[in-house]
Structures are given as C-alpha cells and as structure tokens.
Amino acid sequence: MKRILIVGATSAIACACARLWAADRSELFLVGRDREKLQQTCADLQARGARSVTAFVMDAGDIAAHSAMYDQCLATLQTVDICLIAYGSLPNQHACEQSVEQAMAQFTNNGSSVIALLTLLANRMAVQQGGTLAVISSVAGDRGRPSNYLYGAAKAAVSTFCEGLRARLFKSGVHVITIKPGFVDTPMTHGLTLPSWLIAQPDTVARRIVAGINRQVAVLYVPGFWCAIMLTIRAIPQSLFKRLNL
C-alpha cells in the first residue's frame, strides 16, 4: 500500500499505472483538468481495489493553483510516497513554427509548468525526507529532431531539471526518476503513422514504470529498447544529423 499523488491522472499512462497501484490497495490523489474524466477514473480505481481515491480538478498550467493542490493532497494522504507527473500534450510542430503564441503555450504546458510544479513538490518532499518524484519526460528530449523539436526542447528541459533535482534531493532522501517513454498507444499518438513494433501498450509501459519506481531507477526508458535507439540517434554527428528529417 502506498500514498500516491498523480498530476495528469486521466492520461492513458497514468491511468494504467494507477490501476496497478489500485490493485495494491494504494491511496490515490488524482489531479486533472476534466472533472468528468477524473470522476470516471476515480470510480474505476475504486472498483479495482484502491483503498481511497480523491479527485482534484486543476489545470497544471495554472501555476498559482499548485500550492493549494498540494496542501489538499497532504491533508488527504498525510504523507506522499510517490508523485507521478504525467500530463502533457503532443503539439503540432508545424503550427509551433508558425505561431510564437502556440510555441510558447506548448512549451509552458510540457516544460515550464512541470518545472514550476517540481520546484514546489521538491521543497515539500524534502521536508518529508522521503518519497519518489516520478516525472514522465520523453525520448523526444534526447535530441532535437526537426519533426518534433518544440516538444523535444520542453522535455529536454524537464529531463535536465530532473537530473539536477535528483542530485539535490538525494541528500534529503527523496528519489527522482525521469521516465522516457517512446511511442505508446494512447489518444496522444492517435493519427501518427508508425510501425506497429515501435508502439507499446499503456499496460506494458505502466508495469515497467511501477517496477522502475520500486527499484529507484534514475532514468527509465520505456520500453527498454528505446535506450539503444536513442543511443544510436545521439551518436549521429551534427554534420549528418542536420541533413536528416528525423
């Protein structure tokens, strides 16, 4: 049994993780934008065995609301064993190239708002002297590819932030895990044309994430083969990389 805060709780990966934790009789505090979806997710987890499930409606882009959300979470759970940050959106790269407004909005949603939330959570968890901050970043953050570099840049910011935070919080007994999923079969990737062997199911991804959190892994590629793929992509020299359309 664990006490778990999930921000972006209606995302497919978060739901799949939450189901595993629910089966383990955990107490869950779910944060999301959409009240109806949150309620449906709560009911599902309750039926699957969660000891308690609480819903909290918040737009993670509303940075001013973060603090009150965490107060409420702490009042409900008493202590927090795991914080899973799972929200994000896959922007249309072309639209982001054309519109500064879109580019900044997407960067805020996938990057700076996560950093804002992590800054708050880090301080609160440091006081608690324990627990795990699990952050869903992306393989896209490992290299700026022309097809997806706005999203990649935001995720790179998150990954780098987490790396520093991990070293800082290590001294306080708080663990930070950076989770880098590849392509997962979720509403976010619907419509992309991808070879089927590259696509992982949310259940498979969730099992690896939950196990990775338990093992206190620092950086977790899901599925694991993405580690090799990204190693190869990172090894491509700039002179060649700029000529490719990855």
Binding site: E36, Q40, D44, Q46, A47, D185, H190, L192
Partner: protein
C-alpha cells in the same frame, strides 16, 4: 496511429480502420465524424466474433475496447457495472479473489462486455443458466439521433430485447450492469468420460447435465462407421472449498501468422487420434483450475494464426432437440466423408431457458461447433451440404461465428430480423447484416 482490426477468423479478409473511443463522451462526436465521412459504422469490441458480424459495411469501426473502466463494484451483493470495452477476463481478475464468478461465460474470456450482450453469448452451463442475458441487469445504449438511454426489462424493454443478440446494430452499448455468482473456490471439480458413439453422447448428456452445472463434449470428427461421433464428455462444478485465485490466461503466444494453415488433414489426424487415445476409458475425476476448464484455447494467445493468412471459418449450429440426434449424425457423416475434419468439434446440449433477446442464438436442442481452414471448397461443397441438413432439421446458425449463411436461411431461422431491422440505428451497418437482409 490508426490501427487495423480484423475478425477472429480473418475471413472475409477486410481490415477495419479503428476509430477509438477512450471516454464515454467520445462516442457521440467520434460516431458523428464517422457518419459524416462514411455514412455508417459499427461498434467493435475485442474482435472475437469469427465472421463478418463485427465488420462494418464501411470498414470503419468505432473501437470500444479502450472504454475499459469499471463504474461500480458491489462486492457485498455481487453486482458489477462497467464500461462496454471491459473484457470478461478483466472482470474475473477482480471478481474471483473476492469470491465471485460470472453467471455465464463463453469459451474465451477475451470478449468484451458489450460484445457479450450484442451476441448474447452462452457457455457450458446453458442447460442451467441460459444465455449471458440471464445475468444482465441493464445497460446504456447510445443511438445516433437520440439521447443515451438506460435499457432494462423495466425501462425501455423493447430496446433491451432488441439489443441483446442485436449484433451491435441498435446502437452503441456504452456500459452494462451484471449480476455475479458466488463461488467458494476458483477450482472446478471435473469429470471426464470417453464415449464411443453419438448415442452414448446423448445418453451421457441426459444423465450428466441433470447433475452438473457445466458440460461440453469434444468429438473426434474423423471417426467413421461404428465409431462415428465418438469423443470425450466433460462436466464440472465449482468446488466447495479451496483457494480463490485469478490466474493470467496466456502461457504461450503464436507471434507470427504462417503463410499456410498449420491445421491440415495430416496434423488433424495425428491430433485427433492422439487426443482420443489420451482420454481415459473409465470415468476420471479431477480438480482443475478455472482457466483450463473454461478457456483451454485462451492459453495460446493468437491461436487463430495457426490457420494461416487465409484464416478459417467456424460452423456453429443449434438443432432442435427432437431431431438433434439424427441431424448431428448426418453432419458428422458428411464431415467424415469429406475427409476434412475439424480441429475443434464441440457438442453441447442447450437448455430451454428462453433469452429476452429477439435474435438470441440458442434454442432447446444440441449445438455443434466446427472449425475449418478457409478454402474455396468450403463454401462450394461442404457448407451447402451442412446448410441443407440444418435447414431440414429446423435448426439455425450462430451469427457471431458466421461468414457464409444465405439471406434466406438467416431470415427463415430468425423471423424477428424484421423487428431488429426496424430498430437498427440508420448510422450502423455490418457486413453480415448487408449480406443476410437482402
């Protein structure tokens, strides 16, 4: 990504473009988009229908498997409400450790709740419990042109009756509430008896069905002459004491689809002979886990791939009790003569509990299910011969398994088809329905 979906038999081969619904609120907008671009669609669950009943006329389906949340679980009274894409296996994973089981389960746990209702599935206890509708309390039905409604025997009873066994044509089932049955153990006390001919099956069935909740028989359909209709009868009941353990269904998987069927006259002969010889001549009592008892084929993930790229067809009919013995004999004779045995040949007596569903398949009598690798000869020679026997006997075929029956036979066997057609949502159409109502 847009996934491509197929029916379980992969015949007819008609890949379906999947349009997933992840939330109940997605159903309306997604459906409307599809109606605008392709005029009709069809709800698609987990693709366990064998033939073309799960294929949309437009080849664009509303994929409901992602709608897989539980809505409410009352473990005190054994009532469960869940979204339509939840599979029976997922229900069992939760229910068994809490001492509950499904009232009625088909031979695979990978069907969705919505699919179980839309095909009014039945199982090894049909003689005791009837079809899946027996455990169904109510469900939510979404129609393209009216607000979502709740259907139960009391509320919107016409829609309730039309939708049970309604092949997904009356609307999209978004959720369902079912009753569960209490169990003391996840183990099954099973009895196996070998029988030497068809008459022995009927005698055994009459005797065993009265004493056991579950019963089914495997037939060696390559046996001829005096041995015609020999096989093995299996009966079972939930054990009174023991552990309550839900186990994972898969132990192995067929990861690739071979270019040709691995199930052919040679492998069948070896299998049937070996399987028959393995059955003990005397009555054998064993305690087995629920998985191998109810879902033997689920232990091999993607077993349908064994039939190769051309796929396979299942012929499942039910024959009225008064003529069942003669008609089953004739069917088995024509298979034995053709030399094209079936890997899976299942005989089961159906009881007389009526289903509220208008187009429900079972009737009091005996059901026979046979699988054949797809080839041209099947639809040209063997099936017309089978169809004539079933027609003569006043029996009918199972739409959920079918990919060949003629419109005349369908309309004769299911006279309520006109009522269903009148209540069909104009924005829904399946390949099966296109085929049989003309």
């Amino acid at each position: 990504m847009t996934a491509s979906l197929t029916s379980w038999g992969n015949y007819p081969s008609a890949p379906q473009s999947a349009h997933p619904c992840h939330w109940q609120a997605d159903v309306g907008p997604q459906w409307q988009r599809l109606t605008e671009s392709h005029s009709t669609t069809l709800p698609f669950g987990n693709g366990r229908s064998y033939g073309d009943s799960c294929l949309a006329g437009s080849d664009h389906v509303l994929q409901l498997r992602p709608l897989n949340r539980f809505i409410e679980a009352d473990w005190d009274n054994g009532e469960l409400c869940a979204e339509a894409g939840v599979t029976l296996g997922e229900i069992l994973q939760l229910a068994i450790p809490r001492g509950w089981f499904l009232h009625v389960t088909p031979g695979t746990q990978h069907v969705t709740l919505g699919g179980a209702v839309a095909n009014d599935v039945h199982g090894k206890n049909h003689h005791r419990c009837g079809t899946f509708a027996h455990s169904l309390m109510c469900f939510g039905l979404h129609r393209s042109v009216q607000p979502p409604m709740v259907c139960s025997p009391q509320e919107n009873p016409q829609w309730f009756a039309a939708t049970i066994g309604g092949l997904g044509l009356t609307g999209v089932i978004t959720w369902a509430r079912i009753r569960l049955r209490k169990i003391q153990s996840s183990l099954i006390d099973s009895t196996r008896v070998r029988f030497d001919c068809l008459d022995d099956f009927f005698a055994l069935s009459a005797d065993m069905d009265a004493r056991h909740e579950y019963s089914v028989a495997w037939i060696d359909c390559l046996a001829k002459g005096n041995a015609l209709g020999r096989g093995c009868f299996t009966a079972g009941d939930h054990r009174e004491t023991g552990p309550l353990e839900a186990t994972a269904p898969h132990s192995m998987s067929i990861s690739i689809c071979p270019p040709v069927s691995l199930i052919n006259p040679f492998t069948l002969k070896v299998f049937n002979l070996h399987y028959w010889k393995r059955q003990p001549p005397d009555r054998q009592y064993r305690t087995v886990a629920y998985n191998p008892f109810f879902y033997p084929l689920d232990s091999i993930e993607h077993w349908n791939r064994l039939y190769g790229r051309k796929g396979f067809q299942q012929f499942q009919c039910v024959l009225p009790a008064s003529v069942a013995a003669v008609a089953v004999g004739e069917l088995l004779k024509s298979i034995a003569c053709s030399g094209r045995g079936s890997f899976l040949a299942v005989l089961k007596r159906c009881g007389d509990i009526p289903s509220p569903g208008w187009l429900s398949f079972p009737m009091p009598g005996t059901s026979l299910a046979l699988d054949f690798p797809q080839d041209i000869e099947l639809t040209k020679k063997l099936f017309p011969c089978f169809d004539a026997i079933v027609r003569e006997a006043g029996g009918r075929l199972y739409p959920a398994k079918d990919a060949h029956m003629s419109g005349t036979d369908f309309r004769q066997a299911y006279p309520a088809w006109e009522q269903l057609e009148a209540m069909r949502d104009p924005a829904l159409m399946s390949r099966l329905w296109q085929r049989v109502i003309r």
